[in-house]
Structure formats: C-alpha cells, structure tokens
C-alpha cells in the first residue's frame, strides 16, 4: 500500500469506511484516542512553524503489516504472540489476527511501535437495531481480545475464490481495501508490491536487496519521494508513504542531529543499485 500524503485531505473517509467494513464498534465517548478502536487512524503532523508558515500533514496509519527484520516474516507482534493468535502470511505478506484464539495478553500491543493494535476493553455494544448493518464477512470481536487492520483480508478471500473458480490470477482491481476504495482524494494506492504490473510496485520500486547502510532493512523504496514509518528499526512495513515535502519525509523516522542530511541524499542514491 502507498499513501500519497500530499493528496490526503484528512477527511476521515478511510477511517469510517474501515469501521463500517470491519464491524468496528463505537462508544459514547471516543475522544480518548488511547481507548478508541481505529484500525485506520489518521494522525495530524505539524512542521512546528507559526502562521502563515505553519504546515500540517495528515498521516493515515493502518496496520503496517511488517515483514520484520530482514523481511523474514518475524513481525514485531507475530514473533511475540504466545498463542500463535497473530500470524504472518508468507503468501500474502499480511499479518493476520485470530480473535478466537487471542487470550488478551497484549504483548503484541507493547511490541508494535505504530500503535496499530487495539484492545477490546469493553464488550462491543451497538445501539438497539444498529447491529443490523453488521457485515457477516468479518466477525465482531468479543471483549478481551486484540484487534487490528487486516488489509480487508475477507476481500482477498472473496477475490481469490472467484479467481480460483475462473482458474486465473487475482486482478489488481479485484482486491482493494475499504480505505482505498473510499478515499475521495485517491491518495491510497493498494496492490501487490511484488507484481511489476501493479501501480504500487511502479510507484515504490521496492529494492529487493538489503539496504547497504542497514541490513535489517529490505524492500526500501527506490523512489526518493517514498518512505516508510520507522524504517530504521527494521520492521519492514508494507505500507509506504509519499510526499514532496522534505519535513514530512523526515518525520517518518528518527534521526540524530545532522544525520538526515546524509540519509536523504542516500535515499535518492539507493536507487542507483539493485
């Protein structure tokens, strides 16, 4: 997935589309965001300057579906789950979550630096009658388990079944996440990063070789405008972000004083090899 932060208007359509697609519940007071289940959360970043120099950017944050160090599938959360309730799909690269097996130890939440995982502190409750809009494609979660973005895995399953029946590959447009289809600005592009025919691949141009400067990192983008969140940790997310603004790209990771200058140049340089 690639998200064009310059196109994103922060309208929130992706968040709502996600919640309504995945039967995410809501409470009377959702203003404490640390207790608010939002598989897709839109952060607001500022450049710290004052009006009229001030600038903001909205940064939508789904589960990053990390490949883990060296992209071997040991995501921060998957490797720590004691009950194999969350798993890495080597075929899809999607990090799954099995609600009926999770027993709520929340270790995965501690391990995830993106706060992409949310715990059901309460029993999910819908106002009388509203449970009528719940979708059977995603089972509502019970209290006491962790949930997170699944890249709308059920949509993948439906597309795959269709493809199998017709004995062909899944087409790009057949499997799109709810946030992608909802985005009015077309800021979200979704597809198979490893498929050169797909738009995401063409935008990201992922580098299959480990980053010479940090061998934990694989699949770094060869597009200087594209970056990943906390790439240096070696989580190797499958969500890439794109922006023309340097301060935005810098905000994607942590840098020591003066480090950014070299990194940003290297960023472009890394397109030279691979």
């Amino acid at each position: 997935m690639v998200i064009d932060l310059d196109k994103c208007t922060g309208c929130g359509a992706c968040m709502v589309s996600c919640m309504s697609e995945n039967n995410v519940p809501f409470k009377e007071d959702e203003s404490d965001k640390k207790l608010s289940i939002t598989w897709m959360r839109v952060y607001k970043l500022t450049n710290g300057k004052s009006f009229p120099e001030a600038e903001i950017v909205y940064l939508p944050r789904p589960c990053q579906h990390c490949g883990g160090i060296g992209d071997h599938g040991h995501s921060p959360c998957v490797s720590v789950c004691p009950a194999t309730a969350t798993d890495y799909g080597y075929d899809t690269g999607i990090v799954s979550q099995i609600y009926t097996r999770c027993f709520g130890c929340r270790y995965c939440m501690g391990a995830c630096p993106y706060h992409a995982r949310h715990f059901n502190w309460w029993d999910p409750k819908w106002p009388e009658g509203m449970e009528n809009y719940l979708s059977p494609n995603v089972s509502p979660r019970m209290r006491g388990v962790v949930e997170k973005c699944s890249f709308c895995y059920h949509r993948y399953q439906l597309a795959r079944e269709q493809a199998i029946v017709e004995d062909r590959e899944i087409e790009e447009k057949e499997y799109q996440t709810a946030c992608t289809t909802a985005c009015p600005a077309g800021a979200i592009v979704f597809g198979d990063l490893n498929n050169p025919a797909h738009k995401v691949h063409q935008i990201v141009k992922p580098d299959p070789h480990p980053d010479p400067m940090n061998h934990k990192v694989v699949g770094k983008s060869r597009n200087p405008k594209v970056f990943r969140l906390l790439e240096r940790l070696g989580t190797n997310p499958k969500v890439y972000y794109m922006s023309d603004r340097e301060w935005v790209r810098k905000a994607g990771d942590n840098y020591l004083k003066g480090e950014w200058e070299n990194v940003k140049t290297h960023h472009g340089a890394s397109s030279s090899h691979g």
Binding site: T9, C11, F26, E28, S50, P52, M130, P140, A185
Partner: protein, 701 residues
C-alpha cells in the same frame, strides 16, 4: 465402622486424585473457552447472498452516487459509486455512515403530537387529519398567508412540491435556510439577473483564488471538490487561499494570503481596483460608477490598512490572477452557508466578471436552474390567489426570526430539511421566535432541536428508504439529476415527506386536493420528470448539462457601486471568535453520525469540551489543554484551549457542528454549539446574516 484420620485422609486423597485424573476438568476447561468464543451478547451477523444496489446520497447538497452492499437484501455497507459523474467512486465519511442514520434507534419512529411538554405517539391518520384540521381553520379565518415554510432543499421535485402546497394553500411565506446554493443564487440575482446559479469549474481552472472557501473540507459538493483538488496537483494548477487560519485547504494551497477575518471582500475589491487601474479588465463592461467607487475607496494603501495584506503582495496577486490562463475566484468562506455577506460574494464574483471568467472553461458558469420538472397547472382558489399574492413577511429567514420574535405573524409553520433552532446564529432567539408561532409541523427524521419544539412531527423516511430526484448543487459547474432509490422498506413507521404532503393536501379537500391528485409521491415523481424519467430510472442519473453556457452574461455592478458596508463583529474583546468548519463534522440540518463523531480529533472535541484553536502567541496566561471561559456578547461557554500555530494571532477558531442538545448519547451533548455564542448581523439589502464572527474574551476557568 469407625473412620480414623488415616483412612479419612486416604479417602480424601483418593477422591482428589480421582477427579484430577477424570476428563471432567479437561472438558470444563475446553467448554468454557468455547463459550468465551461465542458469547451470546456478541452479535453474529447473518450471512447470505451479496448484492450491490446503486442510489444517490442526499445527506448534503453534494449529491454523490452511492453503491449499497446488501446481504440477503440487508444493507451492510455504503461506498462511492464508480463512474458517477459527480464523485466517481469517492465517498465522504458522512455518506459512508449512512446506515447508522438508517438504523439509529434515536430516529423518530412514529408520528408524534405535542401534549403539554411531552410527545405522544399517534397514527398517521390522526396526524394527517389533525394537521389538516388546524390548517383548515387558518384558511377559514381568511389568512392563509400566515402559514410559513422553512426549508433547506431549494431544488428538485420535493422543493417544488412544498412550493406548490404553499401556493395552493395561499401563502408566499417560504424561507430557505442559508446555504452555499442560496447565497450563490442571491449573488447571481444581484449581478446577472434572477433565477440563476453559479458553478465553479475547478476541474479545468489553472489558478484557483479561494476567498476562504474550505474547498477540501465540505465546501460545495465535498467529494467532487476533493477530487478537483487531487487532479489540480496532477495538472500543476495553482491554488491560492485567502484565509486567517491554516485550514486544510490553506494547507493544501500553494500560497496563503493572510487576511484579517471579515476583510476578504475588501481584498477582492482591492484586486478589482488594481485590474481597473492597470486597465487589464475584459471587454467593455459598464463599470463607471463601480470603477469610480473602487478608485476612491480601494486604493492599495487603503486595502492594506483594512485587510493587512501588503499593497505590493496584493498587486502581485492581481497580476498573477489576470495573467493565468484559466483563473477563477471562489467565494464563500468555510462551507459558504452561515455568516456570509452578499457584499463578499458579489465582490469575488465581480472579480471573475472583470477578469472575463464568466461562462469560460475553468471559470464561473452562470447557469439556469435545471429545468426538467413539469408540474401540471396548480389549482388555486380565490383565497389561495389572494394570500399568495400578499407580500412576504420578511426577506430572509433571519429577518423572519426577527419579525416573529418581535411581533409574531405566523399562525402555522412547516419545517422541512431544516434545523433553525440549531443552525442559525443565536438559536435562543430562534426558539423564542418559534414559540410565537401557534402551530408547528416538522417533517424531520430525527428529534433535533427544532423538531423538539414542534407540535406535530410527521417523521420522514431517510434517503435510503425513499425514491427521490436529487439535483447536484454546491457550486458545481455541471447539473446532474440523480435518482435516490429506496434500499430498504422504511425501518420505522415513517413516510416519504412527499407522500405525507400529498395525504395532507387530499385531506384538506377542494382546490388543494385537486393540486395534489397523485396517489403517491412515486407516481408524482414519475409524472413530473416525464421527459427524463426513463434515463433517470435506467441509468440512475441524467447529466442535464456540463459545458460552459454560451455567451457572456451582463454584469450589473450597482449593488457594489453603492459601496455596501462590511459587517462589523458584535461586542468587544481582545479576540475575534470565528466558527471553523471541519470535514468530519456535519453542519446545518444534518447531524454527525456516531462514526463521524468517533473520528473527530481530540484537538476538536475532548470529552465534553469543544477545543478552540488559538495561537500560542496570543494565549496569554492560558496553556494548552486548559479549561477556559469563552465570553461573547451572546453568552459564555466552557471550552478547552488547543494551541494551534496555524491560526492568526488574536483569532479563536471554534469547531462548528458540536453541542447538539437532544437525546442521543453518541452524537449529542458533546461540546458547544458555536452559534450560541454568535449574534446575527443582518446585511441590509440581502437580508443575509453576515456575522462571520464576534468579539470575545477568554479567561481561565
């Protein structure tokens, strides 16, 4: 036998060992975990066949096409409809939340009658006959003009149906809530002649000069505008935002021109003056009086003093604008509905006219309203003819409120698609005015602030339950009529307001009944849309027209030449409080859904508090997160301070759309309604409430 301690202990141990070894424990453990995986109080949605159905969303004037996913006919998801001429595939958070409105237990479930200060359920027959009887009395008394109508919808068959009823009944007193559409229509009327709309061709403009218009935050047709902005980036078209805070639109803009709140019109006129002075204006538009006024009142120096924009910057901007291939100036700060002045709209439109941008690709289209409806001649008896020919009680809904509050004048009032007791400035005054009206009938779907004060509620089915023609509005440069189709049978005992109106008319008998001789609204719609019905019902929409209208309309500058005065914010205080429109918050007669409320940032709503934007530089002793008392001439409220580098010092930005007061814990009782703090400032000539803000003071609570 005697059981001694030894054998007793032995037995005990034996029993314990026995239980431990038996499968009982294992079985219980397993069952209990299975139970937790199927808790009866966690719903299990029923599975079934997946189908998709198309319709049009009429929550806001955006009129987007939607695709509704159903399971065994049960709607479970709303998404944008691909290839729909307005939003092709896109959707906004409110439209996607549509199903939450549909199933909301807080909806009005049956017709209601006010009894004392409580509502009691009544049947539709009772309700209709009750209203018919009340209205009958009014007609008998010979003052049919004392029936009023406040409505939000200004286009489509429903609007005309209500108009028709008012005519047939004999009253001219129809009033529209302020909306971008009505403001644009007013502007067009003042500059180009009555009965016209303005459409802004953002998709093809290469230089958009927005005078505070929240183009990507709900202005006009929200999704269409957001898409226009996205394509703008690809087309490398420029956006310059005139604003006093870093709205999302300002943030997306290539350049921000910082102006003092409420001086946008002056800047526009200043630019006009520059163009005239440099003689860069188009053709031979008769501008003498106007030109003279500009030359006198709007010299760059004066404008700089008023707006705070450096004369040089303004001249540069003017040049950039006029030199662009396809520039367009966009009026209507925020969503362009409440707190707008004709002066400002006209000034911006004048700029478009002088720059010869009327009816040009990428400019402003001066369009005639979509003419696709053909109603049969309205049957009006003498009473009706007399009443309808009488003068209106007031020029605008704001003036109506004044009038009613002072000395009444209406004996009955219909409210449709409107929530004046919330959406107009100083709602307290509106409520007083409402109470002066003898008999109020609400056609609302939700028990909102206005419905709460009405005597009878004829609950309306919501857009997912009704068939209706929806006309694109919102300053779009094209006219599309879409067909809103019922996705489900009404969930509650509600009716299509069209049907309610027809039933009512027929219950009233004689001439009125004759004017409404259809046996259902659906039949009526099919008949009146005769020419386009087949395409409409087939494709789901008809594009009436999406090309620039031919010829350049004349522009009459007399209104501006009269040098109308700018509205001055009421009261005093070191700060200017301005309402801020947020994409995630619904405004006007529309109420945010639980989902929409859930996604509101904690920098907008924090617990029960509205968070106000304030620049740290002018926050004084107040700190980020403090609870403070915000005081204006209209009242005071407790708010939370939210430091925001992106707002002009001295200005307080307060989110619009919060502070609803009715019984729904998920969306009401949250924050403060900013309108409570702002008093209307009526603009002479237009009757618009031009209060863009109000002076305010802040003190630590």
């Amino acid at each position: 036998m005697k059981i001694d301690r030894r054998s007793f202990l032995g037995l005990g141990l034996g029993a314990a060992a026995g239980v431990a070894l038996s499968p009982v424990g294992v079985k219980l453990t397993d069952d209990s975990s299975i139970w937790t995986q199927n808790w009866p109080w966690t719903p299990v949605p029923e599975d079934g066949k997946i189908t998709y159905d198309r319709s049009v969303c009429s929550l806001c004037p955006g009129a987007c096409g939607i695709s509704v996913k159903k399971i065994n006919g049960r709607p479970v998801k709303i998404e944008g409809l691909d290839d729909y001429p307005i939003n092709n595939g896109g959707a906004c958070p409110h439209g996607i939340s549509g199903l939450q409105y549909l199933y909301d237990p807080a909806r009005i479930k049956t017709p209601l009658k006010k009894n004392g200060n409580k509502f009691e359920k009544i049947s539709w027959d009772e309700a209709i006959s009750l209203v018919a009887q009340k209205l009958g009395e009014i007609r008998k008394s010979g003052t049919p003009e004392s029936l009023g109508l406040i409505t939000g919808a200004d286009s489509g068959s429903m609007a005309q149906l209500f108009e028709r009823f008012m005519d047939a009944f004999g009253s001219p007193n129809t009033y529209n809530m302020p909306s971008l559409e009505s403001n644009l229509a007013l502007t067009a009327a003042a500059l180009h002649g009555a009965d016209r709309n303005l459409g802004f061709d953002l998709d093809h403009s290469d230089f958009i000069l927005s005078f505070g218009a929240a183009i990507i935050e709900g202005w006009g047709s929200p999704v269409a505008c957001i898409q226009a902005n996205a394509s703008r980036r690809e087309r490398k078209a420029k956006l310059v935002q005139v604003d006093y805070r870093l709205s999302n639109t300002a943030n997306a803009a290539d350049k921000i021109i910082a102006v003092k709140p409420g001086t946008e019109a002056d800047l526009a006129l200043g630019i006009c003056a520059v163009l005239l002075a440099k003689n860069l204006i188009a053709g031979d538009v008769n501008t003498s009086a106007f030109a003279a006024m500009l030359a006198k009142e709007y010299t760059p120096e004066k404008v700089e003093a008023i707006t705070g924009v450096k004369a040089a910057d303004m001249e540069a901007l003017a040049m950039e604008f006029i030199k662009a291939k396809a520039p367009v100036a966009v009026p209507g700060k925020g969503r362009g509905d409440v707190g707008q002045s004709l002066r400002e709209f006209a000034a911006v439109q004048a700029l478009n006219a002088l720059a010869d941008r009327l009816n040009k690709k990428g400019g402003v289209f001066v369009m005639y309203p979509a003419d696709y409806l053909s109603f049969s001649e309205n049957v009006m008896d003498d009473a009706a003819k007399q009443g309808a020919s009488k003068a209106k009680l007031a020029g605008s809904v704001n003036e109506l409120v004044d009038k009613l509050e002072k000395d009444g004048g209406l004996s009955a009032l219909f409210i449709y698609n409107a929530n004046p007791c919330y959406a107009l400035n100083n709602p307290e005054k509106v409520k007083v005015a409402m109470d002066k009206v003898g008999f109020k009938v609400s056609f609302s779907s939700f028990m909102d602030e206005t419905a709460l004060r009405s005597d009878v509620v004829l609950p309306a089915s919501i857009f997912l339950e009704r068939l209706e023609d929806v006309v694109s509005g919102g300053g779009l440069a094209k006219t599309v009529v879409g067909l809103c189709r019922p996705m489900v049978k009404p969930i509650f005992d509600t009716k299509h307001p069209g049907d309610a109106l027809i039933l009512l008319a027929q219950a009233m008998g004689d001439s009125i009944a004759q004017s409404f001789s259809w046996n259902s609204y659906d039949a009526c719609l099919e008949q009146v849309t005769g020419k386009i019905w087949d395409t409409l019902s087939g494709d789901g929409y008809v594009v009436i027209d999406d090309k620039p209208p031919v010829g350049t309309p004349a522009t009459d500058f007399t209104f501006l030449a009269s040098a109308p005065k700018a509205a001055v914010p009421m009261g005093e205080g070191d700060y200017t409080l301005v309402p801020v429109d947020k994409m995630r918050l619904a405004v006007g007669s529309m109420i945010s859904s639980p989902f929409a409320v859930k996604i509101i940032s904690d920098k907008v709503l924090s617990g029960k508090y509205s968070v106000v934007e304030i620049n740290p530089a002018t926050a004084g002793i107040l700190k980020d997160g403090d609870i403070a008392v915000l005081k204006t001439a209209m009242g005071k409220a407790l708010v939370k301070i939210g430091f925001n580098e992106g707002i002009m010092p001295g200005v307080i930005g307060m989110p619009r759309g919060l502070g609803h007061a009715f019984n729904n814990p998920y969306v009401a009782g949250k924050g403060v309604n900013v309108n409570d703090l702002i008093g209307p400032v009526i603009e002479p000539g237009s009757g618009l409430d031009a209060a863009f803000g109000i002076k305010a003071t802040l003190s630590k609570a």
